[in-house]
Amino acid sequence: MKTVRLISLICLVLLAGAMVGVVAGYSTPESIVAAGKVYVSSATYDPAVFFPGDKGTLTVEVTNGNANDTGISVNHASLSSDTAIKSTSRPYDSSSNLGPGQKKTYSFQVIADGPDGTYYPTFSLDFRDADSLYYRTLAKIENTPIVLTIVDKPDTYTQGKKKTIYAQVANPRENTVRNIILEVSGTGITATPSKIFVGELAAGAKVPVNFSVTADQPTNLHLLLNYDNGDNPHTVTMDVPITFGVDKKQANPVISNVKVKNDVGTYHITGDVNNAGLETANTVMVTSLAPAVPQDPYKTYVVGALKPDDFGAFEVTFSATKADSVPLQLSYRDADGNVYTSQQDVKISASVTGAAATNNTGLPLIPIIAAVVILAVFIGGWIVYLKKSKK
């Protein structure tokens, strides 16, 4: 019995010794030290910050930091799925050798399937001759869209007049977004340009976006902002109401201090044009309309640009027959080149001939009285002379 026990014990010791011999054949102190010098040199998510539901890529770069001829054999690389960041790609199952100083890149498809927050999916890499490498990556989910704002726009619009809208695209996210395109549309709207490519916008950056709108009817202007977060398309929409009316700030040139002078059928009208609006009136011009026929030298008078509260003098010349008044046309352009016209009637009959009559056509009393007196003196003198000569 003792012999059997002894033999069993010897067999057990031999078996244990054999097993220890197998283990000692793959994992050595040197291989464990060498595996310790393998590290994750970088782990990058694209996009850097996910929207909920976004798909992306995790790229992990592993570096063998050993020198000399110490290569490392790796068997298995995988990404553990987090609660919100889930890996959708298979693990790396094949063995490979990572030479001294070499780098190896592992890519994993992921999907952000959770609410806003910061998550830590773990990358693991198994060594053949040592234990495994574990690395916690950092992933963020943030549901903050790109911001489209209207910086300035006209108070009201006029049918067929081009107006400029000043917009701005800002990126409040922590990562860069790409391929930003703004599309402008609407019923009865002609937008210039109708599609604006902004491109890439870094985190915290903003860019102005201006476009002109010509509306044929009151409507809603539809703004659609497309952009990509990684490879995931996203949109922002905005509606801007287009209403017709009088722009409270628009330039308002007014004719005043009008003086009319008639130079034999050719009328000269002089006056001032005051800009009573709040915007600059460009290329202000004054001319006369039918029944007036513009004549040289001032068929049309170009006053030029008038800033708010500024004024300029003008003079127009024209001929007119059988007309008591003639309309003066005043035109100007706004900053978008739209032409605005207004008319003002000016009386020419009373003002012209009336002034002339006052000065020139009144009865010349003084010369008439002088003539009568001289004539009376002459006749009287002769009557007296004749009476005296009779005596």
């Binding site: 008639n262 130079d263 059928g265 050719t266 027959t321 003539a371 009568v372 000569s389």
Partner: protein
């Protein structure tokens, strides 16, 4: 000419009494009228220049024609008026049974033109000062298609303040010197047609006063 010009101007009765002793001659009266005509032509040249400026724009060269025709017209017109005045006064003297030839009447009326020569010269000198101040409207070639425009232009020229003033001064001066001439003509007609002072005054005074009233009327309605 045996008699003094001073006598003609100051003592026309004595002048014509002596002149009746001389043979009828139009030489000296014609010379006076010629000088008056030249003075009138000078004045006409200035006034015609204004009209020339006014209408010169319609047809190139028209201004020169107007100036020359006005000056020549004034010269010739003075002689025509001499004859008209003489004819009218001769006709009036017929009412009063005047005696004497028309030639003598023409001669004495010619003498009586002398004060008007002075008057025209004074008017001419005053016009030299006024003419530059007169604003002459400019008419373009297109105005030739519109007679109303030309009428209006002429009206505007006549109503120019400086032009109005010149016309009034000219009228007063003309009237004063015409009355001076009339004074001489009365004595002239008295001797030329052998009229009484009253008949002579009426023969001369009626046409002259009518003419002056016409001048005043023209001035008033201008």
């Amino acid at each position: 000419m045996k008699h003094s010009i001073i006598d003609l101007l100051v003592r026309p009765g004595a002048f014509f009494q002596n002149a009746m002793n001389d043979k009828e001659s139009l030489k000296f009266p014609a010379l006076i009228v010629l000088v008056g005509g030249i003075a009138g032509a000078l004045y006409g040249y200035l006034i015609g220049g204004l009209t020339g400026q006014l209408l010169g724009g319609i047809v190139p060269g028209m201004g020169t024609i107007i100036v020359l025709s006005t000056a020549i017209g004034a010269l010739i017109g003075t002689f025509i008026f001499w004859a008209i005045w003489a004819g009218v006064m001769y006709a009036f003297s017929l009412i009063f049974k005047g005696e004497g030839t028309f030639r003598r009447t023409l001669e004495f009326i010619g003498y009586g033109y002398l004060p008007q020569v002075f008057g025209t010269l004074i008017t001419f000198i005053i016009a030299l000062d006024y003419i530059p101040r007169i604003h002459v409207p400019q008419l373009s070639a297109a105005a030739s298609q519109n007679p109303d425009l030309i009428t209006e232009a002429v009206k505007a020229l006549m109503h120019d303040p400086a032009m109005m003033e010149l016309s009034q001064i000219s009228m007063i001066i003309s009237m004063v010197f015409l009355l001076w001439s009339a004074n001489i003509w009365i004595f002239g007609m008295q001797h030329a047609r052998k009229l009484s002072p009253r008949d002579a005054a009426l023969s001369v005074g009626i046409p002259v006063v009518l003419y002056i009233l016409y001048m005043v009327y023209s001035m008033a309605v201008m």
